[in-house]
Amino acid sequence: MVTAENALPRAGAIVFEQVRKIFVDPEGREVEALSSVNLAIRPGEFVSLVGPSGCGKSTLLRLVAGLETATEGAIRLDNEVIAGPHYLRGLVFQDPTLFPWLTVRKNIAAGLAARGAAKQQWDKVDEYIELVGLAGFGDSFPHQLSGGMAQRAALARALVNHPKVLLLDEPLGALDAFTRMQLQDEILRVWQDRGTTEIFVTHDIDEAIYLSDRIIVMTPRPGKIQEIIEVPIGRPRSRNHPDFFRLRSRILEVLHFAKELSLSYYL
């Protein structure tokens, strides 16, 4: 719909090989955020990461974004080791972090300007404004937008470079339930439209089931993958499907188990 590019088969396979991440806190103590993560994400797959806070979900995402480097192991995107940020791996935070000094249009264009794209490509910006449903708000400043609209703009800014991988770090966490469900559908629509590989961090199990092909349940301290759960429900999904409920109780069970594990870790 947006460009001819997305008709092409796009790769976007991500492989984690024995990934370990250790942070050193200000007092010099080592904290293991991730321990030996092995995971393969297929091109165009929609994967959710769920788990209690402190389980390393965001760290995993930041490693793929290139904002952090793994202490051990490697992460590959289409067989190339990730080293540093790249515009083909887009990131959306929980906070929209739009540049407050730019209008919505210029914020989205910043995605192109940052990597030094040719000015001719800037015509695309208006298409992206429409894609995320912000037509008519191109000249608004971020502080004039609602939370949902700001997050739409942030999504457009990440998408404008047509990334292979879209990383979403609790992007809907700060929104009200109604806006949230609306944006879930938008995210799905854009994903189906463009075949981007998406990794979605969330606290909301229903959200994970509604959106993902696979759900990765993680446990904290040290963060590791507890279980990978396929979502065998056809799309478009109904939130009232019996399988939906079955899956939810299954994940809750796993998470509960995860909790006990972390408890025993403390004891």
Binding site: G66, L91, F99
Partner: protein, 347 residues
């Protein structure tokens, strides 16, 4: 309750509300017109009072060149009356005028007190406290010298401030961005910055060939310090998430500095620009009072030497106009550049 019932009830309620609103509006308007006439005529009354005092109470001081002030009073009154007539037809101008009436009245009352305590009673003695008519006469007769002084002052201020800005902005930016620059520049800034630039006058006079060059150096130094500090703190306090977003969008270091750090720091940078302008004014005037042979500061010094205090006040008045004009200019630049902050800032 059916839908039609509901709507008819709502309509009735609305009509009652509307009626109340209308009667209120009517009442307000009635009071408003009486108040309005009084308000708008108050300055005219004060003008008349001042004129009566000026003409009919005997002078206790000798006044020369009083005609200039008479003309000023008549011109200002005429202007006010013209606005009054226009405001009868245009409501925008009327509300603007009503808003300004207290200020205009207060100004006239202060003028009246000034007139009474000097010219009409000699409570405040000459030569230190000349009457308003004398100050205006100085302004009217010596305007050419004053104008040249203004140009000299503006040249000195402009060059000095510009140098302070051109050095301060990169200094602050580099300090905020590179830890290495901060390591070396921070002690310099902390040690040298707090010294008032005017304290360097003896050194500057010795080092620089002319008092003009020395003053430029001092003004640049005076504005450099606050501009550097506020730029540095602005850049150092930018939300780190902005950099992460820019990096994931493919932005390099140059993009991060020029398109993220500096724009994000601009509100703070503008605080530095205002502070720098303030210190530049101080340094300019002190420099002109002490060494430079031109400019408003020099004019004040010179007029004081001849005990012509009317000229001192005239120069102070011109200085107030120029400096507040420059601050206003900076404000309007700020409002243009920081248009994205509209509704967020309150100063």
């Amino acid at each position: 309750m059916s839908a039609s019932e509901l709507t008819s009830r709502k309509k009735a309620e609305l009509q009652i509300e509307l009626g109340e609103l209308k009667s209120e509006e009517h009442g307000v308007k009635k009071d408003f017109t009486l108040m309005l006439i009084f308000k708008l005529l108050l300055p005219v009354l004060l003008w008349g009072l001042f004129g009566a005092v000026h003409l009919f109470i005997a002078d206790r001081q000798i006044l020369t060149g009083g005609k200039y002030f008479n003309w000023l009073l008549i011109t200002l009154l005429g202007l006010y009356l013209i606005f009054l007539v226009i405001s009868y037809f245009i409501s925008n101008i009327r509300s603007g005028l009503v808003h300004k009436v207290p200020l205009i009245s207060a100004g006239l009352i202060i003028l009246l007190i000034w007139e009474l305590s000097t010219l009409k009673s000699n409570l405040l003695p000459l030569p230190y406290f000349p009457p308003p008519a004398k100050v205006f006469a100085a302004l009217a007769t010596d305007w050419q010298t004053l104008w040249i002084s203004v140009l000299y002052s503006l040249r000195l201020l402009g060059i000095g401030y510009l140098i302070g800005l051109l050095v301060g902005l990169p200094c602050g930016t580099l300090m905020g961005w590179y830890a290495g620059f901060n390591y070396w520049l921070n002690p310099v800034l902390r040690f040298i910055g707090p010294i008032p630039a005017t304290a360097w006058i003896p050194v500057a006079m010795a080092v620089f060939p002319t008092s003009f060059a020395a003053s430029i150096f001092l003004i640049a130094l005076a504005s450099w310090f606050p501009i550097t500090v506020m730029t540095w703190s602005g850049i150092a306090n930018v939300n780190k998430a902005f950099y992460e977003v820019a990096r994931t969008l493919g932005g390099g270091e140059y993009y991060l500095i020029t398109r993220v750090a500096v724009p994000a720091a601009l509100p703070s940078i503008f605080v530095g620009l205002f502070m720098g302008m303030g210190t530049a004014f101080v340094t300019l005037v002190v420099g002109e009072l002490l060494g430079v042979k031109a400019g408003l500061g020099w004019y004040i010094q010179w007029a004081q030497g001849w005990a012509e205090y009317a000229k001192v006040y005239a120069a102070l008045f011109v200085m107030a106009v120029i400096f507040s004009g420059l601050i206003t200019l900076l404000f309007s630049i700020r409002d243009k550049v920081l248009v994205w902050q509209r509704g967020l800032i309150k100063w």
